[in-house]
């Protein structure tokens, strides 16, 4: 058969099925990601020539701009990738579980929940414990919010679409809480929280970068391990159940995964909105019939979108460094409204 690859080991312990076209498209996305990464490394306030970038990355020769590249651009680009990929995959999962194309971690309030926990920590506990614990609190906040939404979803009168509305309610509640905390706290600690909330990728440390990168890779592999469940679930409760999927266990497991991803991205940069909503709509158009490739493409496109937004934010308004979140929301919010209009029949 010409349009597919079937890979089988001799004893059939390993066997896979892939559609060539979708493999090529995924590779194209990953190549584009590489190009965008290079763009982010090379083009900045001043240009760093490509051979310098290569020399630095592969440790071939010392270069002139090693501070700008190694301490500023590289961690910024890498964490931008992690933020974009995590949000996008979290969005794909949430849209899949709630079966609603309007859902995403930020729309249903999980990002805000994570932010509340992180702001509480930054304001009251970071002095005694140290700022490096922020991610842990962000993740806890995300998990708690997901759990609240899940509890609501168990009530028979709550349909998938109403979950979005509940989430929007939770999000405004969380934002009100954040405001309250910021207003009530001492100015120096609220400033720290405020800066973090704006969602800039400026000045990300190597420790943050490496730890978030590794966490993402580990999580991604775990998710890929159970991706067949995710695929089957999209065929509806009855079909998935009759084929042997435990729906409740699946939902809890994947909501847990997406809260981890969401907390992870919030920990690096919080205000990058709408990536989780937007990206799955793009990636599902590219890859339709292969779940592993869909996850990879989603992660790739999420990373590309955030990197581009961050790159524009950093280049276009020199010497100002605008937070990347301004741009993602600038594209994302109109798109959300477009979806609301287009999908009016399903709401």
């Amino acid at each position: 058969m010409a349009n597919r690859w079937i890979i089988r080991s001799e004893n059939e312990k390993l066997s896979f099925f892939m559609i060539k076209k979708e493999v090529y498209k995924t590779i194209a996305v990953l190549v584009s990601l590489l190009l965008v990464v290079l763009l982010g490394l090379i083009v900045g306030i001043d240009m760093i020539p490509i051979h310098d970038v290569i020399n630095y990355l592969f440790n071939l020769a010392p270069i002139e701009n090693d501070f700008a590249l190694g301490e500023l651009r590289l961690p910024r680009v890498l964490s931008g990738m992690v933020v974009g990929a995590s949000l996008a995959v979290a969005g794909l999962i949430v849209q899949g579980i709630i079966r609603n194309p309007l859902a995403s971690p930020d729309v249903i309030g999980v990002t805000s929940g994570a932010s509340v926990a992180a702001v509480l920590f930054l304001t009251y506990l970071s002095d005694s414990m140290g700022v490096q614990w922020t991610p842990v609190f962000a993740v806890i906040g995300a998990i708690i919010t997901f759990f609240i939404i899940y509890l609501f979803s168990l009530h028979p009168s709550i349909t998938a679409n109403r979950i979005v509305l509940i989430g929007i309610g939770l999000a405004s509640l969380a934002n009100a809480l954040i405001m309250y905390i910021l207003v009530m706290s001492a100015s120096f600690s609220s400033e720290r929280a405020y800066l973090w909330l704006i969602g800039s990728l400026y000045g990300v440390s190597w420790l943050e970068t490496i730890s978030s990168f590794v966490s993402f890779i580990v999580l991604f592999i775990i998710i890929m391990w159970s991706k067949r469940k995710f695929e089957l679930y999209s065929y509806g409760d009855a079909v998935a159940m009759q084929l042997g999927l435990n729906l409740k266990r699946f939902r809890i497991l994947f909501l847990f995964f997406s809260s981890l991803l969401c907390g992870l991205s919030v920990a690096v940069a919080v205000g990058i909105g709408f990536i989780g909503l937007l990206t799955p709509h793009i990636s599902r158009r590219i890859v339709r019939n292969h779940t592993s490739l869909l996850f990879i493409t989603t992660a790739g496109i999420g990373a590309i979108l955030v990197l581009l937004a961050d790159w524009i934010a950093r280049i276009a308004f020199q010497p100002l460094d605008i937070p990347a979140g301004v741009f993602t929301s600038g594209i994302g919010a109109p798109f959300f409204i477009y979806l609301l209009i287009k999908k009016r029949n399903s709401l």
């Binding site: 099925f17 028979p156 067949r228 999209s234 009855a238 019939n289």
Partner: protein, 266 residues
């Protein structure tokens, strides 16, 4: 009396406070076509769902080949019994092949996703349902009848010897209704699969079913071969409607002509 495939014992089903099925007992014959009939909301679909363990009964249990399905692993049940829910919805953009492949889920594992055996099962399912040429098509581009055949192919890829279907002909025009029922008839007669389904069209039910089961008042009202069971009195009791019973001149199966209003031509 023939062999029993599924034994429903003393089953009670309810949604919240309203009981839909009340301590019902039923034996479904092996290798036959069994059809549930009854008025709207009489619980025939609910019963079908419970037999496929999609709904947990309040009391009682369902035995498949004398084994309690509630005590079996869900994937193990999925290799023995398949159900096609009413109007299932495919995810956007999937192809027929991708849809049918889902039927292999109970057999797959992380690294064992596409063995020769899976491929044979898939090809067989596509061939029997006459979908091989349409396998690369988007499910949403298909006609209602083709789409229903794709879903039946999914159940066939599952390779179970029992298939349950909840109103498989709803929303289909007459041509496609007959096409689907003929397909199910072939699956039963040629591959000896046990078919259990809910149908609304009583005349078609009489033509295809070996065994009819009428559900009324949360119980089995009556059951048996259509030619014995379909009488004026029974129809009146099941549906609350007076009618006359005739015979299909080609098949010899009963036909029900309901009373009521309408044009009269002399």
């Amino acid at each position: 009396m023939c062999e029993i495939k599924i034994n429903v014992k003393d089953i009670t089903l309810s949604y919240g406070d309203s009981t839909v099925i009340d301590s019902l007992n039923l034996a479904i014959p092996k290798g036959k076509i069994t059809v549930f009939i009854g008025r709207n909301g009489c619980g025939k679909s609910t019963l079908l769902h419970a037999i496929a363990r999609l709904l947990k009964p309040q009391t009682g249990s369902v035995f498949l080949d004398d084994r309690n399905i509630l005590k079996m692993k869900s994937k193990e049940v999925a290799k023995k019994l398949a159900i096609l829910p009413q109007s299932p919805i495919a995810p956007e953009g999937v192809t027929v092949e991708q849809l049918v492949k889902q039927g292999r889920y109970p057999y797959q594992s992380t690294f064992k996703q596409w063995t020769m055996e899976y491929e044979t099962a898939l090809n067989h399912a596509l061939t029997v349902t006459n979908m091989t040429e349409l396998k690369d098509r988007n499910v949403y581009e298909l006609s209602g009848g083709q789409r229903q055949r794709a879903w039946i192919a999914l159940n066939l890829a599952q390779n179970t010897d029992t298939i349950l279907l909840d109103e498989p002909t709803t929303y289909l025009d007459l041509t496609h209704q007959i096409e689907i029922l003929d397909l199910l008839y072939d699956l039963n007669r040629e591959e000896n699969r046990t078919i259990v389904m809910v149908l609304h069209d009583i005349n078609l039910a009489c033509r295809y079913a070996d065994h009819l089961v009428a559900i009324k008042n949360q119980k089995v009202y009556c059951q048996g071969a259509p030619e014995k069971m379909i009488t004026r009195e029974n129809i009146e009791h099941i549906y609350g409607l007076k009618c006359r019973i005739g015979v299909d001149s080609q098949f010899g199966t009963p036909i029900c002509f309901p009373d009521g209003k309408g044009r009269k031509i002399n």
